[in-house]
């Protein structure tokens, strides 16, 4: 007697229903765990890689070009590549921090006029801020933005704003060190002392003691 085989196909088709539910659960988890990826299409070899699901490799290929331009001193050619790499892998911290650093420090070094230098400094800051928006639960880019404001722009109030965010997340002790300096430079001596006190039980103990002493006696500590 010939066996009926259509139930096999029916079961296969019906199994797509629970499969759909599982996919919905995966979609939910993807959003909840920050694992979603945005559609990125670009021309050339990098685009082919993206289509085949190899975004990381595409970003790496572009990054090798960044390295080449950097070593040849062609800083301007690096800029579009930074945007492309961060578009492909927005959670790659190094791409944001290095891009921001090049824009705020190296590109202005090659520009003669003051407006040009300021323009590129601002571009670096904007780039870092964009990076922060993608990586808001890590200290790294808050610190880079705060540091750029502090060191390059001497804009201490904005530096404090970002460094205060950076210390919320787990990170190295030097983040608190820079925040303490920024507080002092911004005129918040008491806040600076408070921040240095937090460093008394770390490797920064020696510096912290000296800074607290100087701030209490002279009212300033950072040269």
């Amino acid at each position: 007697m010939k066996q009926k085989i259509w139930p096999i196909l029916l079961i296969a088709i019906l199994l797509f229903i629970p499969l759909g539910f599982i996919q919905n659960q995966i979609n939910y988890e993807t959003v909840a765990d920050n694992l979603q990826t945005n559609l990125v299409l670009m021309p050339g070899e990098a685009g082919d890689m993206v289509l085949a699901g190899f975004k990381g490799i595409a970003a790496d290929l572009l990054w090798i070009n960044v390295e080449n331009y950097w070593h040849r001193g062609e800083h301007f050619k690096m800029i579009p590549l930074f945007y492309m790499v961060t578009l492909l892998q927005p959670h790659w911290i190094l791409a944001w921090s290095l891009g921001g650093w090049h824009m705020a420090y190296n590109v202005p070094a090659g520009v003669k006029n003051i407006q040009g230098k300021y323009y590129w400094y601002q571009q670096g800051i904007q780039f870092l801020k964009k990076g922060v928006s993608y990586n808001s639960s890590r200290y790294d880019l808050y610190f880079e933005t705060g540091w750029t404001y502090y060191n390059k722009g001497e804009d201490y109030s904005n530096a404090v704003k970002y460094l205060k965010q950076a210390v919320i997340y787990p990170g190295p002790d030097y983040v608190k060190d820079v925040l303490a300096h920024a507080y002092e430079k911004d005129g918040h001596i008491n806040q600076a002392i408070k921040e240095w006190k937090k460093l008394l039980h770390t490797d920064f103990k020696g510096v912290a003691k000296r800074m607290i002493y100087d701030l209490n006696t002279r009212g300033w500590a950072t040269p």
């Binding site: 096999i8 196909l9 797509f16 765990d33 945005n38 190899f54 990381g56 490799i57």
Partner: protein, 254 residues
């Protein structure tokens, strides 16, 4: 069950008798070793690039092996006419498909273990810390390869080799883009189109589910819960593909 195991074992032996398997593994090992070329980069950049390249190589060469292995597992039996001898013995067509798939599972596992050991040795010598996230990524790549093998095997039961290769490659690309398609579906206003698109979204394999390597290399934690659900998705898809394969193989005139 014993018949299925015998068929599986024969599939593994047959695959290793062919040189293609060795060539694919050798190429993959060369490609993983080639990540040494990134020595001119900083340590942080190098780590990312070695991981990116190795994961991509393991997946891509695994894909080739899964696709070609599954296609030839069925077609070579038909071409060499050994299928007639097999099916005259008390081996059912269901046994045949399950045995072939089990064989593919072991071929992929052996290949995967070789590549993984090589990759782990490489990162160990490069002093890159080996963490659980690496194993989660590798596990999901393996699950993806099993899904690919099941689909290629199912297609092999009712299509020609050439069509199967094209379809498997097409599904591989589309499977990595379906999650983007979801974003487009959500913007669609027309209910009919939305319904059809939703159906396609469910039917087509979503390989992007398995792709966590881009996240892992940049330090984004992937929870076990996610890995577990995606594993469930993979198993479910494999069952569906095998059922379809069994159905078409049983209706096929041989």
């Amino acid at each position: 069950m014993k018949k299925t195991w015998i068929l599986a074992w024969n599939t593994v032996r047959e695959s290793f008798r062919k040189k293609t398997t060795y060539i694919i593994i050798l190429f993959a090992l060369i490609m993983i070793a080639a990540s040494e070329f990134f020595a001119f980069l900083s340590a942080q950049e190098q780590t990312k690039m070695i991981m990116d390249t190795s994961f991509a190589v393991i997946e891509f060469f695994g894909f080739l092996l899964a696709m070609f292995g599954s296609i030839t597992a069925v077609s070579s039996e038909i071409e060499k006419r050994t299928i007639y001898t097999l099916l005259t013995k008390p081996i059912t067509r269901t046994n045949f498909i399950l045995g072939k798939y089990l064989g593919m599972f072991f071929i992929l596992l052996i290949n995967f273990v070789i590549m993984t050991i090589f990759f782990l040795l490489l990162i160990h010598f490069k002093k890159i810390p080996i963490n659980i996230a690496i194993f989660k990524t590798l596990f999901l790549i393996f699950m993806e390869l099993l899904v690919i093998a099941s689909i290629s095997l199912a297609l092999a039961t009712f299509t020609s080799d050439a069509f199967n290769i094209i379809a498997s490659c097409f599904l591989y690309i589309i499977g990595h883009l379906t999650s983007y398609g979801r974003q487009v579906i959500e913007m669609t206003k027309n209910i009919v189109i939305k319904g059809l698109a939703d159906m396609m979204y469910t039917i087509l394999p979503n390989y992007q589910n398995f792709s966590i390597r881009d996240k892992v290399v940049v330090g984004i934690p992937v929870p076990w819960q996610y890995v577990l659900i995606v594993t469930g998705y993979g198993i479910m898809y494999i069952v569906i593909a095998l059922l379809i394969g069994i159905y078409f193989f049983r209706t096929r005139e041989i």
